[in-house]
Each structure stands twice: as C-alpha cells, then as structure tokens.
C-alpha cells in the first residue's frame, strides 16, 4: 500500500503540477518507498495509455440512419443542379456514348434526371396499406430490378473507363481510382444495410445515391479522357476543377 499522505502528491507529480520543492521531497521519498514508486509508475502508464487511445470507427449503419433522417426531414436537395462545366456538349456526347455502350434503360433514366432517384425507389411507402401487399411486392421487385440495372450499367461503364485510363496522367488516374474506391466502399456498406433492412426506403435511397455518385464520377472521367484525347486542355482543366 502506498503511503496515504503521498497519494495526492503522486497524482500531481504525474500531472506535472507539483511545485519544485514538494517535487524534490517526493522524489526523495520515492527512491526509498517501493509501493509509492509503483503507484507513480502505474499512474503514469495509465495516463499514457489513455492519451494514446485511438479513434474508434463509427458503427457501419450510423451514416445510413443519418442520411435517411435528413431525407425524411426534407433537408437534402434531391435535384441539385450540376455545375455548368458538366453541361457542355462534350459531356452530353460522352454521356450518349456511354448510354449506348451500357445499353441500359436505367442509364437513360439517370441521364434524363441526373440526381433524381428512380421512381420505384420511393414507392414502398405503399407498405402502410395492408390491402396492397401485392403492389408492395411488385414495387419491391421493381426496386431490385432497378438496382440490378444500375449495377450492370456501372460495370460496363467501368470497363470502358479502365480501357481508356492510359489517356490520363498517373496522378489524375490515382485520384480517380482513390475516389472510386471510396464510392465502392460506400456502396458495399449501403448494400449490406439494405440486405439487413430490405424494407427500409431510406436504406435503398442511400444505396441509390451512392450508385448515382459512381455513375456521375465515371461519366466525368470519360469526359475528361475525351477532352484529353482531343487535346482540349482548357476543358479538361475545367472538369478537374469541378471534381
């Protein structure tokens, strides 16, 4: 047992707040008293371990819940206008090319309304009507189908991108790969959340938002590749600055 009268002084020594004279006295005591010395060493280690505690990863589903509640409260703009740079004719030409390459109606839907969720995504609100079970199931199937089409389109667009990435400098490629990686992680996380809560409209919407963002990034990447190939550095720089 450490000396009772020294416990508080040892704490102050550990905190670095003990005055010089008392500190000197205590250090003389510590040299002779093993229990007090052990207490000082333990408290220093506890303080050090506490200060070194790392940040903990937040729970996987937390963001999904936050995004869902922001949507419910109407605080997210569903039709945010894209910056003017993305509305160039070059972008439209590339988008049209991508639509043809992807051969998917969901991309046409996306192109005509870039940040509006597919209609089927918001429809499960009908779940509140017990007499409408068949309609709910039909809507659910449509949502599943839309998601599948989205993902197929992304796969094809991504293949196209990979085949053309050599048009970009390594630094730009690295940034794009990094951003795609972030989006992939978000998509995987949201996909898991949808799997855990298949009936959650908020979960579906957040997954679709992530999918839309990936489509948007892939489209911008293809626009950039197109401008670089044409030697149009000004338009390319505009696209990079937009990102």
């Amino acid at each position: 047992m450490p000396c009772e009268r020294n416990i508080e002084r040892i704490q102050e020594l550990v905190d670095g707040t003990l005055g010089a004279i008392r500190r000197s006295e205590l250090e003389q005591h510590l040299a002779q008293c093993a229990p007090c010395r052990a207490l000082k060493e333990d408290l220093e280690r506890i303080r050090g371990a506490a200060a070194a505690l790392p940040a903990l990863p937040p729970p996987d589903g937390a963001w999904l819940q936050i995004a869902g509640r922001l949507r419910q409260e109407g605080r997210i703009r569903e039709t945010a206008p894209r910056p003017a740079a993305a509305r160039s004719y070059a972008w439209l030409a590339i988008a049209a090319t991508l639509v043809i390459a992807a051969g998917s109606s969901i991309v046409l839907l996306y192109r005509s309304s870039p940040v509006t969720a597919p209609a089927a995504v918001t429809a499960p609100a009908a779940a509140g009507n017990p007499n409408n079970a068949e309609a709910v199931e039909a809507v659910q199937n449509e949502v599943d189908s839309a998601q599948e089409q989205f993902e197929k389109a992304i796969t094809k667009m991504d293949d196209l991108r990979k085949a053309n990435m050599n048009a970009l400098d390594p630094q730009t490629s690295e940034v794009i790969e990094k951003n795609l990686g972030i989006l992939d992680r978000a998509i995987n996380e949201n996909r898991a959340a949808v799997k855990a809560e298949p009936a959650s409209v908020a979960a579906r919407e957040t997954l679709f938002e992530a999918l839309r963002q990936k489509v948007s990034l892939l489209q911008d990447t293809m626009s950039l590749i197109n401008e670089m190939r044409k030697g149009n550095n000004a338009a390319a720089a505009q696209l990079v600055n937009k990102s």
Binding site: E4, I46, A55
Partner: protein, 183 residues
C-alpha cells in the same frame, strides 16, 4: 491552393445547399473522433451510436451558424461535447450520480488494491475498465487524460469546481489501476 478555412467554408456551403455527398464527406472526416468521445464518455456503444446520429443531425441544422472562426473539426467537437454532456447530465439527473464519484474509503481501497506491475495495458481492457467507472469520474477522466482538456476547461463545461475535476480524475486513475491490475 485553398486554406483549410476556405475548404471548411466551401464544404459547409455545399452541405447548406442540401448536398448529401458533402455532408457525408464531413461525416467521414469527423465521425470517428466524435463517436470515440461519445462512446468513452457514455460507457456504452448503443447510447454512443444514438448520440452520434443526434450530433450530426444537430450539426446539419446548425451549419447556418458556422462562420469559420474556428476549424470545422473544432466547431463540431464543441457541439458534440455539449450534446454529450447534456445527455450525461440528464442521465445522471435521473440516477443522481454525475458528481457521485468515489468516497475516501473507496479511494484508499483502490490505492491498496491491485497494481499493474509489468502487465501491459491492453486497449480493449482499458476501454472496458473505463466503462466500469462511476459516471462522474469517467467523464472527467476522458476529458482530461484521453482528450487532453485542462481541469479549468473541464470545470467550465461540467459546471463543477476545478478541484472537483482534479479529484474525479485522480479517483478514476486509482480505480482503473485496481481494475486493470486484477489477475
């Protein structure tokens, strides 16, 4: 090159416009630190997750008041700390234990209890022991030894005397030593 203040203001402006991607960017940058703070101050994961959501929803509502006078991370940290403390106070109010730390007999018992000797302090064990501390001690310890606040700052945010903050932290350390030193 833009400064961090300009970057903060640009991100906040996008969030204010209802850009969910921008708010997710803000969330990804700060959620870990704020979740850790909530988890350690509250002592359990379920409450911390609930509060994390409330903190970010509250932050979204209050973004209008962000002027860039402090860094965005600092502004969020203050907001989170206040919100966590409000929650702790309301919980302690119900249980009457925020300032009920450990009495002198407990302190002496802890001082006479187990010691660490050469045992390494495992992070998981430390997190678990933190959760076992009485609420008042845990909050003061987390703010001081984990988050690095001064006793005066802790006294201000908790509305207690500086000496009380010091006493709570010291009692927490002794209790942690006893808990971590158990065979």
């Amino acid at each position: 090159m833009s400064t961090s203040k300009e970057a903060d203001l640009a991100l906040v402006a996008r969030c204010r416009e209802g850009d969910l991607g921008a708010f997710e960017e803000l969330y990804r940058a700060h959620a870990g630190r704020l979740y850790s703070l909530a988890f350690r101050m509250l002592g359990n994961a379920a409450d911390a997750e609930d509060l994390l959501q409330e903190i970010f929803l509250s932050a979204h509502r209050k973004l209008e008041s962000f002027r860039g006078d402090a860094a965005l991370g600092t502004w969020l940290y203050r907001l989170a700390t206040n919100q966590i403390l409000d929650y702790v106070r309301s919980r302690a109010g119900r249980a009457g234990q925020l300032t009920d730390g450990l009495d002198d007999a407990s302190v002496l018992a802890d001082a006479a209890g187990h010691r660490l000797a050469d045992r390494a302090i495992d992070r998981i064990d430390l997190e678990r022991a933190l959760a076992d501390l009485p609420e008042g001690c845990r909050v003061a310890f987390v703010l001081h030894d984990v988050e690095g606040l001064e006793h005066k700052e802790i006294a201000d945010v908790l509305g207690i005397a500086e000496g009380t903050s010091k006493s709570q932290v010291h009692k927490a350390r002794l209790r942690l030593r006893n808990l971590l030193g158990r065979p």
